[in-house]
């Protein structure tokens, strides 16, 4: 849970400034805190240890002094009694009083004897040892100690001073004689003038108080330092008691290591220090034992059953004993630890307080930032007039507030500008769209364009690279001639599209009165080259296909040569002329060819040849020819739409994902030829070049119309049309004064009546005449121009060709069988 909170805090720290600040501060403080705690713990530990050591030492010193004061007291008392003994040597029985008084004066002494050398007083026998002792009811009794049953001369307390030559404290022992108490005996040798020992004076001292002394000291220590109550130490102890692991205790050993004082009473005099330590693996114990016996002082850490103890030891003067205090390390260090824990808790409390203060403070400080962020979000969503947080301070927040405010104002201005710009851009774009629509509308777009005709089929397609482009194509039929063109304006976009529109309009306007392609292009060139400041030009191919005959006249102004797809596949030979609009006065050359029935003229712009794939390879003329050749044999003479579709597919496949870089335009024109007609009647007349001869036309027309079964109205109309056409020829082909003839050939088939009017006069194309305007008022109308208008109105088709030096005008009227 703590871990998850920490994770939570860390994750928030990465997203919140104030969390990061708090985390930084808290981590720093935590580190400092840990260091301080470690130092304090260490110092505390050291202090506690040295404090404990000092206290233990002083306690041992006190105990030492106490013991010594008793022992010295005994020694002094004995020494002071010795002169008295010497004075009374002559009266041996007086010696009982001396020892009795010694006991009376010294409560610590519970028994005292003056043991003489064997036979020192001959009258007293071998053994003489006056002895005073305290009875069970504390009264002092005397008796003679030495008997054959009690051979004291061999006793340690007697032999030791005698042999050592000085006084001696015996090892403690249990008095089995009566007191059942722990005792030690002071032996003082007495010497005569000759320096020979004659007696040993003893004082028995009870050591029961020693155990009490040690016990009291331990209780005091345990309660003062370790916090135990007195009752904890008054209990029945066994060697395995928990007491030894939890409490401090003191023991005293004698010169051989025998316990003299120990909390476990049964050990006193019964066991030595070494009895137990030899069972343990720790050699420290042995060393400590030896040190203690040698009378050294010191401190050691010992290990008992995996627990550590501190052991202070010091010798007790005069006796050769050694005193040791054992303390469980854990308890001592526990004091230091509890102190450290206290410090830690205080620190933690401080840390928590710091955290809370920091958090509140940081929240307060960073709250404006949060509010600013909210404002910024609002602004980002377009609400530029959102109110900013109210900042009362004059610090960085105020600065931020001012900056935000400035940003708002500036954003509002910029948004306004952007809105204006976008609006005008949208207007331009919408105008571009309109322009594109207008441009598309300029192109023929209904296919098949002449469903009623069986001699021609056309399909055209323009794929613009941009919204408006510079490619164009156009076609229309006038007077049984197909006028068509394909072109590519230099450049792209709006300028190109404008030139394209002009080009197309010029083509229409000029070809309306001119059937010769080179002259159409020539006039277009003059119009476009003039004032061509922007140096725009058009590559243009113009063709005029005579539908009755299949003769195609064409002129190429720098455009790609069209491909003829018929019984074979090949490029149409083209002269190299300049593109249109480059140079005024350029003479364009005309070419012509015969288109066989079912042949397709395939025209295209360089958008096809130069279509690039992603590797920047171009589609090229070779691939166009390959695509055409690979068309299935049954559709070797394909329908124009199928051919364009196939080419579109081929180029799309080739280009792949590459972006179309240029307009791509294709135009396919299939000339299907004209079926042979079943001629039912043929009549012809030749008139001299004189309008007076024209009434003869009526005879011819009436004959044919009668055979065709036409009514009088139709006959009148046809008569009017033929007369007008012939008069026209007479007036224009043969200028005033010229002599010539006009021949009129009429033929009647099941479908139509055809009149072919031919003359050898000046080449003159009546179809190139502009249409008469029939809406003008009487004053405005010109006198002329009515004849050809009538012909157009009354006949179904009019076709002019100049062939082999003859003007040939063909007029056709369809007839319907009722």
């Amino acid at each position: 849970m703590v871990l998850s909170r920490l994770k939570n805090l860390l994750s928030r720290a990465s997203s919140s400034l104030y969390a990061r600040l708090i985390l930084g501060v808290m981590l720093t403080v935590l580190v400092v805190f840990i260091i301080i705690t470690a130092i304090i713990s260490n110092v505390t530990r050291q202090t506690v240890l040295s404090d404990t050591e000092a206290h233990v030492k002083s306690r041992m010193e006190i105990a030492n002094r106490h013991i010594n004061s008793v022992l010295v007291g005994v020694e002094v008392a004995v020494a002071n009694t010795v002169p008295e003994v010497k004075e009374q040597l002559s009266k041996p029985d007086q010696l009982y009083n001396i020892v009795r008084r010694l006991l009376e004066l010294n409560p610590d002494i519970i028994g005292s004897a003056i043991a003489f050398e064997p036979g020192y007083f001959p009258e007293k026998g071998k053994y003489f040892s006056p002895y005073a002792y305290r009875s069970a009811d504390s009264t002092i009794l005397t008796k003679q100690l030495g008997t054959t049953d009690y051979e004291y001369h061999d006793m340690e307390w007697y032999k030791m001073p005698k042999q050592l030559g000085h006084n001696h404290w015996s090892e403690p022992y249990f008095d089995t004689g009566g007191g059942e108490q722990l005792m030690t005996t002071f032996s003082y040798p007495l010497y005569d003038e000759n320096g020979s020992m004659y007696a040993v004076m003893t004082a028995d001292v009870s050591l029961n108080w020693l155990t009490a002394l040690v016990r009291e000291s331990d209780i005091d220590f345990n309660s003062r330092f370790l916090g135990y109550g007195e009752e904890d130490l008054i209990q029945d102890l066994t060697p395995t008691s928990e007491f030894f692991y939890t409490h401090a205790y003191t023991f005293i050993i004698g010169r051989t290591g025998t316990y003299i004082a120990h909390p476990l009473h049964q050990r006193i005099l019964n066991d030595t220090y070494f009895t137990y330590v030899e069972q343990t693996a720790d050699s420290t114990d042995n060393r400590i034992g030896r040190e203690m016996i040698l009378g050294h002082a010191g401190m050691s850490i010992i290990n008992r059953d995996g627990r550590k103890f501190m052991l202070y030891y010091a010798p007790i003067e005069r006796t050769g004993w050694s005193m040791a205090t054992v303390m469980p390390s854990k308890v001592i260090i526990g004091r230091a630890q509890s102190f450290s824990i206290l410090i830690s808790l205080i620190m933690l409390g401080g840390l928590l307080l710091l955290f809370l203060v920091c958090r509140t403070l940081m929240r307060h400080i960073t709250k404006p930032l949060w509010l600013f962020a909210q404002s910024a979000d609002e602004i980002a969503q377009g609400n530029l007039t959102v109110s900013l947080p109210d900042i009362k301070t004059k610090d960085e927040m105020k600065h931020l507030h001012d900056s935000f405010s400035l940003m708002q104002t500036s954003l509002q201005h910029q948004m306004e500008e952007l809105r204006t710009t976008t609006a005008s851009k949208a207007a331009i774009e919408s105008e571009l769209n309109v322009a594109s629509k207008i441009q598309r509308a300029m192109l023929p777009k209904i296919y098949p364009p002449y469903p009623e005709r069986d001699d021609i089929d056309i399909y055209g397609q323009l794929m613009p690279a941009k919204a408006v482009g510079g490619d164009l194509f156009d076609f229309y039929i006038r007077d049984e001639k197909l006028f068509f063109c394909i072109g590519d304006v230099s450049g792209k976009g709006i300028p190109a599209s404008l030139v394209m529109a002009v080009t197309k309009a010029l083509f229409r306007t000029i070809s309306m009165h001119e059937a010769q392609p080179h002259r159409i292009i020539g006039q277009m060139n003059e119009a476009m080259a003039q004032d061509n400041d922007s140096n725009m030009f058009v590559t243009l191919f113009v063709g005029v296909l005579d539908l009755p005959t299949g003769r195609m006249r064409y002129c190429n102004g720098g455009h790609d040569a069209p491909i003829l797809v018929g019984s074979g596949i090949g490029k149409l030979p083209v002269n190299s002329n300049l593109p249109v609009g480059v140079m005024s006065g350029w003479t364009f050359t005309a070419q012509e060819t015969q288109i066989d029935p079912h042949t397709v003229v395939f025209l295209y712009t360089d958008g096809l040849t130069e279509a690039e794939n992603t590797a920047h390879n171009q589609f090229s003329e070779d691939r166009i020819l390959d695509s055409l050749r690979s068309m299935p044999t049954q559709s070797r003479q394909p329908l124009p739409d199928a051919l364009v579709a196939r080419m579109t597919e081929a180029v799309k496949h080739f280009v792949g994902d590459a972006e179309q870089s240029d307009d791509l335009t294709m135009l396919a024109i299939q000339y299907k030829g004209r079926p042979e007609q079943n001629v039912r009647l043929q009549r012809s007349i030749t008139l001299p070049n004189d309008v007076k001869e024209t009434p003869r036309i009526a005879e011819l027309v009436e004959t044919v119309c009668e055979t065709a079964g036409l009514d009088s109205t139709s006959t009148l109309q046809m008569n009017l049309a033929i007369e007008e056409a012939v008069v026209n020829v007479m007036n224009y082909a043969y200028p005033m004064g010229t002599i010539g003839t006009v021949s009129i050939k009429a033929s009647l088939s099941d479908q139509a009546i055809t009149f072919v009017i031919s003359d050898s006069g000046t080449p003159f194309d009546p179809t190139a005449k502009s249409e008469a305007d029939t809406t003008l008022s009487a004053e405005e109308r010109p006198i002329g121009g009515l004849g050809i208008h009538l012909v157009r109105q009354l006949m179904d088709s009019i076709n002019y060709e100049y062939t082999d030096g003859y003007n040939v005008l063909t007029l056709t009227k369809k007839i319907f069988k009722h």
Partner: protein, 101 residues
């Protein structure tokens, strides 16, 4: 082609009979020349018996209309058959003249 000019109640009436084709136009133009010169009189062209008219004939009619209108008088066409009326329609001349029966 026969052209007759009469004056009836202050109105000049030209009566056309036959085919007014190109060949006849020169003759007819000469025949109606008096109509151009006569001032202050309206003109009626009686086409009841006119069988045919070519553009040359139409030109004559137009020329006459222009000169008469210039003097503030009117030219009316009388009794023209449907076939000829159709020619007038095609050429837009139907808007230029006033037709009476």
């Amino acid at each position: 082609m026969k052209t007759t000019i009469q004056e009836l109640n202050g109105t000049l009436v030209a009566i056309f009979e036959g085919r007014l084709d190109t060949a006849a136009s020169v003759e007819t133009e000469a025949a109606i020349a008096p109509l151009h010169k006569n001032d202050g009189k309206d003109v009626i062209l009686d086409c009841t018996k006119l069988e045919y008219i070519s553009s040359s004939g139409l030109r004559i009619f137009l020329g006459l209309l222009k000169s008469v209108k210039l003097k503030g008088n009117s030219v009316k066409i009388k009794g023209m058959n449907d076939d000829l009326r159709n020619v007038f329609t095609i050429t837009g001349f139907i808007h230029l003249f006033e037709f009476i029966s």
